[in-house]
C-alpha cells in the first residue's frame, strides 16, 4: 500500500508543461442581466445558448475567426458533440472536462502537438432549470458516491459535506466562526467593485455572524450562488499566442494530486482537509515554474463554499498549517489585504460558473483590465481547486 503518496509526487515533479500555452481570448455571458431575467421567471437561454454567448465573446476578445480554432473542450453540462455542432467546430482534438481539467487538458494537448488553438466552452442553465445539488438524486452523484451515499441519514447536500469539513477544521486548528466570516466579507469587498458580479452589497463580519445558518456551521454567506451563465477561453500554443496578441497570458505550470482513498466517507476532507494533495499539487507547479507563494500577486480559489479558502491558504503554502485564521484576520484577503483572493468576488458573490469564471479573472487581472478592482502590477496569479480532494495548482503569468 501507499505506493503513490504526496511525498512521492513532490519528489517526482516531472510535467513538462512550463509556459507551453497561453490564453489569448476570454468571454462570458451577461451574468447580471440573465440573473435578473431568471429571477423574473424567464429562461434567457439553455446551457448551450450561454456557452455560445461566451464563445462568441471570447473569439471577439481574441480577435480571431472561428476557423483558427482546431481544438474544442466542452464543459461538464453540455454534450461535447452537440456543443461542437452548435459552435460549428470540427476540431482535430476534442474533449469534455470541468474547468480546471479543461485548462490542464488544453495545455497537455498543445504540448503534445494535437492542437494549436483550443476553445474551452462552458454553459450552465442551473438556476433556470432548478438543478438539484442536494437530495438523493443530487447532481454529480454518478461520479461521486459521497454525494448520495449518506442520504438515509439526511446528509445529501454539497453544503453539508463542507459543513462537516469546516466543523472538523475548526476543532483541529482552533479556527473560529468570525475568521470564517472574513472570507465572505472580503469577497463582497471585491465584488462591490465588479460590474459583472451578481451580489455587490458590502457586508461586515457582524452581518455574517448575525446571518442564518443553513447547514451549521455554514452560514448563508458561506454558500455559492446558483445562477445561469457561460464562460469561454481560447488557449493557444505559446509561440502562436505571441503572434496572435499583444497580451498573451501564459500558463506557467500545472500541478495535480488526488486523494481518493476513503473518499465516500469523506476522510480526505474531515481528516486531512485535502492538505497532502494540495501540498503535492503545489510542489509540482512551484518546482516547474520556479515560482512560489511569495511570487503570487493574486490567489483565486475554487469557492463553492467559503471554507475552501482557509484550506487553500494552508495547503498551497500561503501560511503555515494552523495559521489560516490568523492570516485571514491579520493579513487579509480582501481589497487592501496582503493577499488578494477571488478578486472578482468568486462563486460566493460574482457568479457560480464552477471554476470557469476564476480562469478569466486570472487573465483579466494579468492584462490589467479589471478597473476599480484591479490589483496593481499583477504579474502572477495562482488558481487552486480542491473539489472532492482532486487538487490542482495552476499558475498564470505574463
Amino acid at each position: 500500500m501507499n505506493h503513490v503518496q504526496p511525498d512521492y509526487a513532490r519528489k517526482h515533479a516531472s510535467p513538462r508543461n512550463k509556459r507551453a500555452a497561453a490564453v489569448v481570448g476570454v468571454g462570458h455571458s451577461d451574468w447580471v442581466g440573465d440573473w435578473a431575467r431568471c429571477r423574473n421567471g424567464e429562461r434567457p437561454n439553455d446551457s448551450y445558448g450561454y456557452a455560445i454567448d461566451a464563445f462568441r465573446n471570447a473569439l471577439k476578445d481574441a480577435d480571431i475567426s472561428r476557423d483558427e480554432v482546431d481544438g474544442l473542450i466542452a464543459g461538464p453540462t453540455t454534450a461535447y458533440e452537440r456543443l461542437g455542432e452548435l459552435t460549428g467546430i470540427n476540431p482535430r482534438w476534442g474533449g469534455q472536462a470541468d474547468a480546471v481539467l479543461a485548462v490542464s487538458q488544453a495545455v497537455m494537448a498543445i504540448e503534445a502537438g494535437y492542437a494549436e488553438v483550443i476553445a474551452l466552452v462552458y454553459g450552465n442553465d442551473q438556476r433556470s432549470v432548478g438543478t438539484q445539488y442536494g437530495g438523493p438524486e443530487a447532481m454529480g452523484g454518478g461520479a461521486f458516491l459521497s454525494y448520495v451515499y449518506h442520504s438515509p441519514w439526511g446528509l445529501t447536500s454539497q453544503g453539508a459535506l463542507y459543513a462537516l469539513t469546516l466543523q472538523s477544521f475548526k476543532h483541529a486548528r482552533g479556527f473560529t466562526e468570525a475568521e470564517m466570516g472574513e472570507v465572505a466579507v472580503a469577497q463582497r469587498g471585491w465584488s462591490s467593485m465588479n460590474p459583472n458580479a451578481i451580489m455587490r452589497k458590502r457586508i461586515t463580519v457582524e452581518d455574517y455572524m448575525a446571518s442564518n445558518y443553513v447547514c451549521e456551521p455554514l452560514h448563508l454567506y458561506d454558500y455559492c450562488l446558483i445562477n445561469d451563465g457561460g464562460v469561454a477561453l481560447i488557449i493557444a500554443e505559446a509561440g502562436r499566442a505571441k503572434r496572435m496578441t499583444e497580451k498573451p497570458v501564459f500558463i506557467e505550470s500545472v500541478g495535480r494530486f488526488d486523494l481518493n482513498r476513503g473518499a465516500t466517507s469523506l476522510e480526505p476532507r474531515i481528516d486531512d482537509f485535502y492538505l497532502p494533495a494540495q501540498q503535492a499539487a503545489a510542489a509540482q507547479s512551484y518546482e516547474l515554474s520556479g515560482l512560489g507563494p511569495k511570487d503570487m500577486d493574486i490567489l483565486q480559489v475554487y469557492d463553492s463554499f467559503s471554507v475552501h479558502v482557509p484550506l487553500a491558504l494552508e495547503g498551497y503554502g500561503y501560511c503555515g498549517v494552523g495559521e489560516a485564521g490568523k492570516f485571514l484576520r491579520e493579513q487579509g484577503v480582501g481589497p487592501g489585504g496582503k493577499l488578494p483572493v477571488n478578486t472578482g468576488g468568486g462563486h460566493l458573490s460574482e457568479t457560480y460558473m464552477q471554476g470557469w469564471a476564476h480562469q478569466i479573472e486570472c487573465v483579466r487581472q494579468l492584462r490589467g483590465e479589471c478597473g476599480e478592482r484591479q490589483v496593481a502590477d499583477a504579474r502572477h496569479v495562482h488558481y487552486t481547486s480542491d473539489v472532492a480532494g482532486k487538487c490542482f495548482s495552476i499558475i498564470y503569468g505574463k
Binding site: 438523493p136 438515509p152 443553513v214
Partner: protein, 136 residues
C-alpha cells in the same frame, strides 16, 4: 406530508450493500473485513482497497465509535428530516469512517472526540437506521 408518511431516503443498494443492510435490519451490523490483511471497509465493495483481495468476510462490528465532526441542518430538505436535525461523522473502532446521526441529543461545541455507541433506530416508515448515541 406528515412524518408518518415521510419516506426515509433510500440507501444506495449496489451488489455489496445488501448484506450490510440485512445485518442492520437484524440489529447486528456487519461490515466486510479482509481475510488477507484484516482491513475493514465501509462502504461495502468488491475487494479490499488495501490489498485488492476479494476474500472478504462479513463481520459484526463492536458498535464503539468516536465523533469526528458534526453538522446541524437548519432547513428541511427531505420529508423524513424536519429541521433542525443533525448528521455526524464517526470513526468506528474497527477503522472505517461512517456518516450517521447522533441519537438522543444534539451535537455541540464539545462533541468532537466523544465516544458513542451504535443504536438501531426504526424510522416512522419502518426503515431501520444505524445511528449512534453518547456512551456513558
Amino acid at each position: 406530508m406528515n412524518a408518518i408518511e415521510a419516506k426515509t431516503p433510500k440507501p444506495v443498494m449496489g451488489l455489496y450493500d445488501k448484506p450490510m443492510w440485512e445485518s442492520i435490519n437484524a440489529g447486528a451490523m456487519r461490515l466486510q473485513r479482509c481475510r488477507a490483511c484484516s482491513k475493514w471497509q465501509y462502504p461495502p465493495g468488491p475487494a479490499c482497497p488495501q490489498c485488492l483481495s476479494c476474500d472478504l468476510e462479513w463481520t459484526p462490528v463492536s458498535g464503539r465509535a468516536r465523533i469526528l465532526s458534526w453538522v446541524v441542518f437548519h432547513r428541511q430538505y427531505l420529508p423524513a428530516y424536519p429541521a433542525p436535525y443533525n448528521s455526524i461523522a464517526v470513526r468506528l473502532e474497527e477503522g472505517p469512517t461512517m456518516i450517521t446521526n447522533l441519537e438522543g441529543a444534539m451535537p455541540d461545541a464539545g462533541s468532537i472526540g466523544k465516544d458513542v455507541r451504535l443504536v438501531y433506530v426504526t424510522m416512522p416508515d419502518g426503515v431501520v437506521l444505524p445511528r449512534f448515541s453518547l456512551a456513558e
